[in-house]
């Protein structure tokens, strides 16, 4: 793990990140990829500097869609680990704040693995080694035999306290939900934007608030659609600007009002088309994709106003994530026998 001390070094990190960003696939490349077979996609990825190493390393063990999937995960993990290791000082904290999302994912995967008695290999394959946890901690988590042992191992991390508190709930109910909620809550609590002051960081704060607002909106819409009698404020994530816990409870029962609220917010302009579609077609999938595109647009313009801050790094992280998701969607779509047009409609591109 890199040092947390010292002064920020945004110049160095930004130069490296921008260079990597230039090497990402463009929209034309996706169009080409959507017309290739999995083997051809793997060959195409091998020619790109971002994936060459991973494809070569994994090529002897896997083939087809599996090879693409593992290479994507490995490349993502390596990229984000690199970024974290370059960052120093305050910059490290700001980048790690967002990348802890993968730690949360890993903790939940390990918990589920132990709960469902899955074998170690399968759980290990599902981990994305991109967060702040180092390999040693992850190996020890994989070796753990019980939920209690995992909670104990994590006691020193940012998830420690929340998990410790939720352990009693788990023991009395016997279901994983309290622990998983605790992990999510701990992650979103760390995203909290109170300490991001100053002009340069205000962009980053706005982006994080958008992410939290969108997550709240999606959760509420899903709950409203499912018709389940669950209090939406149970799943409410603090830190956004659009909703409050009490307001959300009211909006969950009245979807039209919720849509109206989003339309009047600062996201209204970007999302207006998707909102109209949501009102008409009642399809959540299209709306979720519209939210992703809106976030990506945010990310694309991030870092143009304040080049020497954390924003270009976050912008790259998001774009890379999206690229990995898109290539995975293409490969999986090909495997399922979808046509190029159908696959292209599933992609999140600007």
């Amino acid at each position: 793990m890199s040092s947390h001390g010292g002064t920020s070094n945004p110049e160095y990190v930004n130069a490296r990140v921008r260079s990597r960003r230039a090497a990402l696939f463009e929209e034309d490349d996706y169009r080409k990829l959507a017309r290739m077979s999995p083997a051809e996609i793997a060959r195409f990825m091998e020619e790109s500097p971002a994936y060459e190493e991973q494809i070569n390393a994994l090529g002897s063990r896997f083939s087809g869609v599996d090879l693409i999937e593992y290479a994507l995960n490995a490349s993502l993990a390596e990229d984000f680990e690199d970024i974290l290791s370059w960052c120093e000082g305050a910059l490290y904290g700001h980048v790690a704040r967002y990348l802890r999302k993968f730690d949360a994912w890993n903790v939940k995967t390990v918990l589920r693995g132990v709960y469902a008695d899955t074998d170690r290999e399968a759980v290990s394959d599902d981990l994305i080694r991109a967060g702040e946890f180092d390999d040693r901690l992850l190996e020890r988590l994989l070796d753990a035999d019980s939920i209690e042992e995992i909670v104990e191992l994590l006691s020193g991390t940012v998830f420690g306290r929340a998990l410790g508190d939720a352990l009693d709930d788990y023991e009395s109910t016997g279901v994983l939900v309290p622990l998983e909620n605790a992990v999510d809550r701990a992650y979103y609590k760390l995203l909290r934007t109170d300490d991001l002051t100053g002009e340069a960081l205000s962009e980053y704060r706005e982006f994080l608030e958008a992410e939290i607002d969108f997550r709240n909106a999606i959760n509420t819409l899903r709950l409203a659609r499912s018709g389940a009698d669950i209090d939406p404020s149970e799943y409410f994530i603090e830190g956004g600007v659009l909703f409050s816990a009490a307001g959300l409870r009211q909006l969950a029962s009245n979807t039209d009002e919720l849509i109206q609220r989003i339309r009047e917010s600062r996201y209204g302009e970007e999302l207006s088309e998707a909102l109209t579609e949501l009102e008409a077609a009642e399809s959540l999938i299209g709306f979720e994709r519209a939210l992703e595109v809106a976030l990506l647009e945010y990310a694309d313009s991030l870092g143009l106003v304040h080049p020497l801050s954390v924003t270009p790094v976050v912008s790259y992280v998001l774009t890379k994530e999206r690229e990995v998701d898109n290539i995975r969607a293409i490969a999986r779509g090909k495997e399922a026998g979808l046509g190029p047009e159908e696959i292209e409609s599933e992609l999140v591109v600007l």
């Binding site: 110049e11 160095y12 130069a15 260079s19």
Partner: protein
């Protein structure tokens, strides 16, 4: 505090003496030194960005080097003061 102010002004303005507080040669040396300080500060950011770019793509070495030493012109221009005094 206020009563010593005129006294201080006298010392600073070197009342009663014709020699300036800083002789011109020393002033020129200070000018060069301060310019070098500024150049160093500018190079700090450019240099670290250049090293980052070179680490990603070695072809950028020459470009990076040129941009890194650009602020050095500050010192060269400041050297003119040495010849002027």
């Amino acid at each position: 505090m206020l009563e010593i102010a005129p006294e201080l002004a006298n010392v600073v303005l070197q009342e009663g003496s014709n020699a300036p507080a800083i002789p011109s040669a020393s002033a020129a040396a200070l000018a060069v030194g301060l310019a070098a300080f500024g150049a160093g500060y500018a190079e700090r950011g450019i240099g670290s960005a250049a090293v980052g770019a070179v680490a990603e793509d070695e072809d950028l070495f020459v470009t990076g080097l040129i941009f890194t030493v650009l602020p050095e012109t500050l010192v060269i221009l400041a050297l003119v003061t040495i010849f002027l005094v």
